[in-house]
Subunit: 470 residues, 2 copies
């Protein structure tokens, strides 16, 4: 067995980051780089603690985090191993990618889709999925649906959020929605009354549309690499829609001090913060920060969805708020005859109850982490990548005049891309490609990124050449 | 075998009503009255045609209609029989109804619910329901949901509507919604842009709420016993929400000439008519009139739902319009991330495909017809009943000062009632109780109506007494 001390582990006791988090991060990097290979056995926690000169708790905490994320697996009685998965972790990059041919009418026959916003749905637990729907059909159709959602599902979701998002909630805080759009729509109706609503800029275009469709005046609120810029927020917003866990599309994670300033702003102006907990389930380095909601439940509504973590097609999400607000929104829903399908709620309850959703999240976390690593490996050398090690997308920063041409050229070569442009309502601060890794498989991500890397490198050369010629 | 000619059948050749419809109506009455008993064999169509002196086609058409409605059943090789059902068709009315006791806080322990708006969900085909959800779970979760709905379900719904609602539609005319509220909301977004929207007065309160929540100015449009009064409609409406098949809550069916005037009004003013095909599946006498939509697909959007015919909890409905409008609404839905759950659509497709929904509708039609007959029998003698022989509710007309007291007193006796008041936005033309027969079983409907009949009779006596004393 190789000793981990042979590898350059450096843990700093003076860092604000706990030793266990540092160690987990280091192990993750070693696994992504292939330094620790799939199937390789790790030293015992006792042995490793002695080698690194840290307490055994540091080791077990780091291992637990990596177990939870699916990086490690235990084999009964024989120790801890680097997880093996069907898809190869690393391998030679194809030096001659064969793009799908563009057909006559310019539409791509078999394109590689690197646009953001879609999760990977092909890898799911068939038996668990079947069981969930079979159990839903065992129950009779509901005659008087509860606009809060099924009590059993609200209990289970509260438990899930306590565990995964570190918020102290009970079923009285939960309303079962159909997803984030539905949740935001209900917030607009309950909180806004046609006033001014802030949306991150650049931001999720569906949020803008949903708010505007309720008569809100949508106010773009600029974002930097860390998330929404609190000091620039106007004082007359009824609500602010924000994605602190993983900003869409720039990818920042709102730092703690800014979270506190954001809540101070909300308290002083009377605005409600609608926290879209987008992608919070998918982080590949440190554990996610607890939801903003936990810091001030009176000023925050938390929205979550299974659309990204399970499938867009299911149609279940949640809205978390104070019991008074949840009751008010449920009454409103009843008036509008707005509901979440009963059998769907039953099926999701089964997936939660049996731990199927947790297992799915762990599996997907590992899969996405690998795709992300491939992107970093391939595009990192040719452009600046922005965004936290989380979620299903990454921003490849490019000069304003470059992205359009690359999107166009990549399409011809069979790679579908998205640029920051579509996510902007007004003036752009950051430009580039928003690369999603939910739709394409790991080998496709690799092929697609290689093509994009070549185009970026070529465009850089062309621009320099253009300047020289001019 | 008894000869039907022994019974007083009188068919008139001079009536505008076709002979087959007259005969079907007469047979229905005889079955409701018990003159034709469950299990009784009907004469052959040939024999009956000879006895009544009409063509055999008249007989077979009448039989076909009654088969479709579930009144008759065939036994292979042995003829046509009056259908037998589990619930007793007739029986002595309980002369001493035992109302549920009111508990201390005035809330009813085991109330009989005679309020409208809820269908009967306890009688369903368990095997078909289980099969539908099991099949939904056999399919993988969907990654890129089509905002139009599943192509297979749109095909099936188009077939269903062609058959049941006599409209010439294909899948290109269909968008799968979550129900009527969702359909109307999408119409408001696509057609209205915050303008003026007409809603029948009295009318469905959810329609008013949905339209107002999109910023529409809701204009009450008076209704009489036949439905919306076309001559009173203003000329500046963006859309009119109407229930021509069975007006909610008064129960009228919009007559053909008024349908034509309504469409002429829409063409001349540019308004769109949103036809809520509420209750169209449930008629107990003649076949329903074809949907208004069929008369002018360019000026009408047809909305339907499974909430009343199957269960409120399923969350599937449809919007029928021109292909251009359907495409426009689908694009809007995509922008809003508004969807109908994929597995639910799959399950409903299975129910349609296998004829399970049709069978369910036939069974329910018969069950509701019986409940309705009990109401007519019990309340008919003490007040005027309004509304067509259709749907899940009937209006018991009462003087304005009577209903409130009866609702209150009935509640104490364990019967939940609804009055016209709640359905009004402004001035009331008709007053009374809106009695729904979807929530309570046949015996409960009987018991509840008996209590209500006594209260109405008592209130009449009291009022007369009051006048005399004054």
């Amino acid at each position: 067995m190789r000793s981990l001390v042979d590898l350059p582990v450096s843990l700093s006791r003076r860092s604000a980051v706990p030793l266990s988090t540092q160690l987990a991060g280091w192990l993750r990097e070693a696994m992504l780089a292939g330094t620790l290979a799939p199937g390789e056995r790790l030293p015992s926690s006792r042995g490793l603690a002695a080698q690194l000169g840290v307490s055994r708790t540091v080791i077990t905490e780091a291992f637990q985090q990596l177990y939870a994320e699916g990086w490690l697996e235990g084999r009964h009685g024989s120790g801890t191993f680097v997880a093996c998965l069907e898809t190869p972790r690393s391998g030679p990059l194809s030096s001659t990618p064969s793009p799908a041919p563009a057909s006559d009418n310019g539409r791509v026959a078999e394109a590689i889709d690197l646009r953001p916003g879609h999760p990977w749905v092909r890898d799911y637990d068939r038996a668990a999925w079947k069981r969930a729907w079979r159990k839903a059909g065992d129950l009779p159709p509901g005659g008087h649906p509860d606009p809060h959602g099924l009590p059993r599902l609200r209990e289970l979701l509260a438990g899930h959020l306590r565990r995964v998002r570190s918020v102290a909630v009970g079923p009285e805080n939960i309303l079962v929605t159909r997803g984030t759009g539905n949740g935001l729509d209900l917030c607009a109706l309950a909180l806004l009354g046609g006033g001014r609503a802030g949306v991150e800029e650049p931001g999720y275009h569906v949020a803008r549309t949903v708010l505007a469709a309720r008569g809100a005046e949508v106010v773009p609120c600029p974002v930097d690499e860390d998330g929404v810029i609190v000091d620039d927020l106007p004082n007359d917003l009824g609500l602010l829609y924000t994605t602190p866990a993983h900003q869409y599309p720039l990818g920042g994670r709102l730092p703690i001090p800014r979270r506190e300033r954001l809540l101070a702003w909300a308290r002083s102006t009377g605005a409600m913060v609608v926290e879209d907990d987008y992608d919070a389930e998918f982080r590949y380095d440190v554990a996610p920060l607890p939801a903003l909601y936990g810091l001030d439940p009176s000023r925050v509504v938390l929205l979550g969805t299974l659309s990204k973590s399970l499938a867009p097609d299911v149609g279940v999400g949640w809205l978390v708020g104070s019991p008074e607000l949840v009751a008010r929104i449920a009454a409103l829903r009843e008036e509008l005859s707005d509901r979440t399908s009963g059998p769907v709620q039953q099926a999701v309850a089964t997936l939660l109850e049996r731990g199927d959703l947790d297992r799915h999240l762990r599996r997907m976390r590992l899969e996405y982490a690998r795709r992300r690593a491939v992107i970093v490996e391939t595009l990192g050398p040719v452009c600046r990548l922005r965004g936290d090690t989380a979620g299903l997308h990454v921003l490849a920063e490019l000069s304003p005049d470059t992205s359009g041409g690359i999107v166009e050229r990549a399409r011809e070569l069979g790679v579908l891309l998205d640029s920051t442009e579509r996510h902007h309502h007004g003036w752009e601060r950051l430009h580039g490609l928003v690369i999603g890794y939910g739709s394409a498989s790991l080998p496709e991500v690799r092929r697609g990124c290689r093509i994009v890397a070549d185009l970026i490198a070529g465009a850089g050369a062309a621009r320099v050449a253009g300047v020289r010629a001019g």
